[in-house]
Amino acid sequence: MKEKSRESNFIRHWVRIKLEGFKPERIISEAIARGMTIRQIDYKDETEVCMTVAEEDFRVIKKFAKSKYKFTIIDEGGAHPVARKIKAGKMMIAGMAIFLLFFGAQTLFVREINVIGCKSITESSIRECLREEGLYEGSRKNFDCDAIERRLFKEFDNIVWAKVAYEGNYVEVKISESKQVPSDKVGKETPCNIVADQDCYIERILSYTGRSVVAKNDFVKKGDILITGTIPIEHPSYEMGKDDSPEHYVHAAGKIVARVPYYYSFYMEPTDDVKAAAGTMLREWIAENIPESAQILNKDFHFDKKKNIIRVYGTVETRQQVGKEKEIVIDKHKRGTKEDTDRG
C-alpha cells in the first residue's frame, strides 16, 4: 500500500498543539521513532512545548501519551477544517449564491440608457425606436449596436451621426441632428433631383442641369425622379480607383410638361337639370383642385343615380408643368463615428 505523503497530511489537516507534562522530549522522541513529522517545536519551559503535527498523527500521539500529558489544540488549518466551516455556514453559502445571482443580473442586463443629443427629436421617440430593436432598461445585453444605429438613421431623417456604446450595464446613445430638416425648398446651389409631384404621363422634358431619366409618354408616379442631380463620372483616359467617388452631384433644373389625370367624385341632389348642376359643381371642384396654369384637355361625366342622391364621377385630364426639387442627402446612410469626424 502506498504511504501517504507527509506534505499531503499537513495540507489536509494540521493542528498546533500545546504539550504539557514532565519531560515532553519523551513524546517527541516516541513520535520520531514512529516516523511522524513534527514541525515548529517551540520550547516554552521545562514542562511545556508547542508543536505542529498532522491531525491523524495527533490522534496517535494522544493514544501513546495516555493521561500523563495534557494536550491543547491552539490552532488548526488545512482543507478539512475549511470545508467543515463552509459546510457549517449554510447561511454564508446562501448569501454567496444570492450575491452571485445579483452579480449575474447586474452584468447580464441593461440597467440604464442615456440618450444624448436630442434637439428636435423627442427622447421618447428615440427610446421607442431602441425598444423595437430590443434595447430597453432590463433587456439582455445581446443587442446589436450597429443595427440600432442603422435603425436610427433609417427612422429619423435629420440624424447625421449616431453612436450606441455600453460600459457594464450602462448604455449611452449619442445622436447628432442636422441643423435643419431636409425640406422641399432647396437652395440654388444645393444638389437636388427633380421628382414628380403627382402621377402623370410625360409629354415633354427639358433638362437644363442634371440628367433626365424619363422619356416622352412614360407614366410616372408621385415621387419618381424625373431629372437626377447625381451624375456619374467616367474618365475617358484613366480607370477609376475603388476609393474614388464614382459620381458628383448638381442642382438639377429643367422643365417637364405632362398630362395629369384627375379623378373626381361628388354627390348631388336630383334636380331638373342634372347636367347643368353637375357642370357648375365640377367647375368649383376644378377651381379648388387644379392649378390655374393647367390646361384642361378632356373631361367626362358619369352619373350614378340612386334613390334620393346622384353620384357624379369622372376624370379631368390636364396639361401642366410638373416636378419639384428634392435635396440629395449625400452619404446619409454611411456610418460615421465620432472619431472619424474628429479626424476630419
Binding site: 507527509r6 522530549e25 517527541i28 522522541s29 520520531i32 521513532a33 516516523g35 515548529q40 512545548v49 508543536m51
Partner: protein, 85 residues
Amino acid sequence: MKLINEFTFDFDITGPKVTASANAAIIENVLRVVLISDTSVTVDTGRFYVTVKGSRFVISEIWEGRMELEGKIEGIEFYKALGKD
C-alpha cells in the same frame, strides 16, 4: 580527506552528522530527543549524543531522523554515550 574516507562519511548512517551555520543547524541520524530547552538541544544519534548550544531555538521540522534547528548557534558538542563504543 581521502576519497574512500569521503564515501564512508557520506554513507555512514550510524554516526552523527551536523551541518551548521550561524542561524541554523541540520542534524541527521537523530534517533530521539534527549533534552530540549531554550538555549540547547541534545539529541541521541546512536553512537554519540550531540548538543547544539545557542539561544532562541525553534525546531522547524523533525522527519525521518533529520532535525532542522533554527536560532542563534553558539556551539556544537559531541558526547560519547556510556556503554557504546
